[in-house]
Every structure is written in C-alpha cells, then in structure tokens.
Symmetry: C3
Subunit: 133 residues, 3 copies
C-alpha cells in the first residue's frame, strides 16, 4: 500500500485528494483494476462529490454540522463525539474503478478527505488491485 | 467494466438495479470474486436495502428529505445542494461478494440507485474481480 | 467466503467484530490484499470507529436515534422502518486493506456490526482477495 500524508487546517473541512490518489494509481502501472482508499482515523472519513463549485463543499459541511452538532450532551469526554459520528456517516473507505491505468471518475467527481477533528496531521492509505480476469 | 444505462423519472427516487447488476455479473462468468458497483454522478448514490415491501423505499426517501431538506439556504446556486449531500450520505459505491457465479445477497436485499436530482439519464459502472486465492 | 455468526441482545447496538474478522483474515494466509466484510441483512449495517472509550459507541447510537427516530409515522408496517434507514446510512459493506497477513487498521479503529432491529441471530460474510500485482 501507499500512504498519502495530509495536513488539515480547520476543525471540519473537506480536502480534495483526487490528484494525490491519481498519482498513486499511475505509479502502480496497473491498467485495469480497482483502487481502495482507506482512512485509518476515527474522526475523519472519505467521500466523493462535486469538485467544481466550492459552495457544494461548504453546503456539505454546514449540513453535517446541522445533523450532528459539535455540542449535544455527548458522553465521550474528549469533545469530539460529533467527529466520530460524522466519520461513520461518510464511511472509512472508497472503492474506485481503474480503467486504462487511471482512476475512473465521473465528470464532476473528486475524492475528499473529510476532516472532522482538525487541524491534524493525517494519512490515507491506497492500494490498487489488478483485474486478472 | 460494464456500463448500465438508467433513466429516472422523479427528482428523488430509488431504482432497483439488482437484475441489471446480476446480469452483468453472470455475463462475466466469474465463479468466485467480488463485484464493485460505482455511481459516476455527484447527485446520486447507491445503497442496499429491502426489496419486498415498497413502503420501505418510500420511508427511506421521506427520511432523507427530512434530514436534508430540498431548500435550506444552501450556498450552491444550482438548486441541488440537497442532492449532493444525500449522495454522500449513502455513498458512491457498493462492493458485493460473488459466489457460485452470482451476486451473494441476503434474502431481502436489493441494490438501489438513489436518484436525488432527477429526472435524468444516468449510468452505473460495474466491474467483477476474480478471486485468485 | 467465510460466515461469522453473531447474536445481538438489544434492539440497537454496536458489536465489535474486529477479533472475529481478524481471525478469518489470518486463516486465509493471504499476505497482501483486501478484505471485504458484507452484511446480508437489511436492518443492520457495518462501520469502523473508535474501540477504546465505550462512550463513543453510546454517542453514535444516541445520534442515530435522534436522526432517525424509532417512531415517525412510517409507511412500512413492521415497526422497523427506522432500522432499514439506519442500515443505509452506515452501509452494508466495508473494505479493509490486508498487509503482512493482517487487517490494516488505524490505532483506534475497530469494526462494528450495527444492529438496528435486534435481538436477532445474524451473520456477516468475509472474503479476502489476494493482491497479485
């Protein structure tokens, strides 16, 4: 596997990691397969969404904060219960097809690291599995 | 990969795509492996849920609309911010086991394309990876 | 595939299945690959989250119950519409990397079976795909 190092600057943020993951895929020189992206943290997750209008990213963050408020009488004493819950809503991993040696994404799709308890130094793990049909 | 073409008729709907994905898997003639289903759109997602009582589908749609209302002062100007957020909640991909040449699903499970910004012409990508143990 | 049998004791609960899945992976003797964990039920799901402080688990359950109340005028007559919706929010499958013959998880990560309509006898399916690079 490959580890991509990330550094987040806000408590809650979406970081576009499409370029970093694409580079890891290209390096592998696998023409046809799948790429698994895994987040080894419990207060961050991964998603795929629009990477054109930055307002989409802001709307996603605002909606997450409305659904899972930062403070809501949580039992966990570290002040990041909301971050744990948010990370489970989006999930810890993504699987993307690899076609012609590249990540196969829709026109408007980008891969996002969803930080919910930053700022922190983070990493994302990437592995490409070859299709031996 | 295989592309399955879909046509949706409502703004928000769940389309049962189990038969289409099953056909793509059977065609591949892979006895033992995994099947990845990927949605290349940013205002639609994928999920697995009950395919017996249609009321479940309606309850899921109503719950999504309560959690993420169509209008809620979003920043994104295209009128489909709710659709982007809904697609991230369910996620862009599914991984299902392939056993004896078929999708291995529980008794009540069906695969759903979750349209959140229809009606539109859509597609879903399918790839089967063989288990060379 | 391998089937892991589970027995849940509450209507809504998170069961740590990390040890059971890890055993299934070790048994396979695959050094480098991916592990897919699949839930064949429509009123349960899977997630990865913190396995240190049990308060996190309780906060996740409480937040799910706030987002998707047990009773909310649902159409489905079996009294478990909330369970179906909850299962789609977390999703039916997980993909985890296998490195050096073991599940590759972050320091604080555990795998959870998310029961939403217990108590019941359940199962979880596990398959390991080898990386033939």
């Amino acid at each position: 596997m490959e580890s991509i190092k990330l550094s987040t600057s806000k408590r809650i943020d979406l970081l576009d990691i499409t370029a970093e993951v694409s580079r890891a895929v290209t390096k592998n020189k696998i023409h046809d397969g799948i790429c698994i992206i895994f987040c080894p943290h419990t207060t961050a997750g991964l998603t795929i969404n629009e990477n054109a209008d930055p307002a989409v990213k802001q709307d996603i963050i605002n909606a997450l904060n409305k659904l899972i408020p930062v403070s809501a009488g949580y039992a966990h004493a570290e002040g990041n219960s909301d971050s744990h819950i948010k990370s489970s809503l989006f999930g810890p991993s993504l699987t993307v097809l690899v076609e012609n040696g590249k990540l196969a994404l829709g026109t408007w799709q980008g891969l996002y690291f969803c930080e919910s308890d930053g700022p922190r130094n983070r990493e994302v793990w990437v592995k490409v599995i070859k299709n031996h049909a």
